[in-house]
Symmetry: C2
DNA sequence: CAATTAGTTCTGTAATTACAGAACCAAAAA
DNA sequence: TTTTTGGTTCTGTAATTACAGAACTAATTG
């Protein structure tokens, strides 16, 4: 029987942060994103972020601005309060995935271009290369379909 | 009417190399991988690689070993020739995608864990977070299906 | 029109990366 | 047995990254 050990909030921040880093973001960004996932309430001020994570203003500022430019984070304001409150933009992840898809599809394109420039002396290799490009195309299409499917499902429910 | 400008081999190497870098690989790795895509014949020796790309032995060695450890590159040998000839392992890209899928699914898991630790005071946020986790799950499943579909398609044809 | 607040931007630096160059080494060839 | 080949590994470094800390600024508040 597996004992489910409850993680502390700080542990979540580390764990999520590391995963986020693996997606290619800087450490500070990962931890900010992670903090905003576990944050209760889910919106936190600039100050709260830097205090909780013990990172500098500059790191918070640049990270937040980057995350906002990528639509992964947004902010709200509260009446009678000058501060901005930062929170996760849930649609950002989807945007991110779409961008990655586009990149991969582009990679497939390039492979096809390369193919057209190759000699026909190594048919086996060329065939494999073409198959790779087709695979990328295929996956791109399938993922697009999946996204559509998801969106339809969501619309029906919501 | 679009004029299709034919790229030189070196240009392909740059273009593919950059794309590969964007997938998170080091510059040298990107260019080696790119070179192996356009290489005619598609297998090249250690020496040929370093000469063509004008990079050091150490860079070639570490890059090739890394690429091989990731199953993106493999090597063949030729009778009566001590050298190894490196070439692209076409199944590597698929492995790569599978690994990325696994990572993303893991990310979804963590989000669900975080969810279970959140208070129920911010239902809207929690719901959105849950939806995100479900979305990642959904995409993971869809991609797995797509991969199966591709494999069946390939089996039927090949 | 000060003083405070909520950040931004600049400057410097510690840590890390990505690689070159040289030393090195095991297997094969001479 | 020495020499050559086909790499690998070590050492040093230039370039880059990721951030701290301080200076700065525009809006708000007193």
């Amino acid at each position: 029987m597996k004992v489910e050990k409850k993680l502390s909030a700080k542990d979540y921040v580390e764990k999520i942060g590391v995963s986020f880093e693996k997606e290619g973001f800087q450490p500070a960004m990962g931890r900010i994103f992670a903090y905003l996932i576990i944050a209760d309430p889910p919106h936190k001020s600039f100050e709260e972020i830097l205090e909780y994570l013990k990172i500098s203003k500059s790191a918070v500022s640049t990270s937040l601005n980057y995350l906002m430019s990528r639509d992964l984070v947004e902010y709200i304001t509260l009446p009678g309060d000058r501060k901005r409150y930062f929170k996760i933009n849930m649609s950002g992840w989807l945007t991110l995935i779409k961008k990655k898809m586009a990149r991969r599809s582009f990679f497939g394109e390039i492979m096809k271009e390369a193919l057209s420039a190759r000699s026909n002396k190594y048919k086996e290799f060329n065939d494999a290369l073409e198959e790779q490009a087709e695979f990328l195309d295929f996956m791109h299409k399938e993922m697009k379909d999946a996204l559509d499917k998801w969106e339809r499902k969501k619309k029906k429910k919501g």
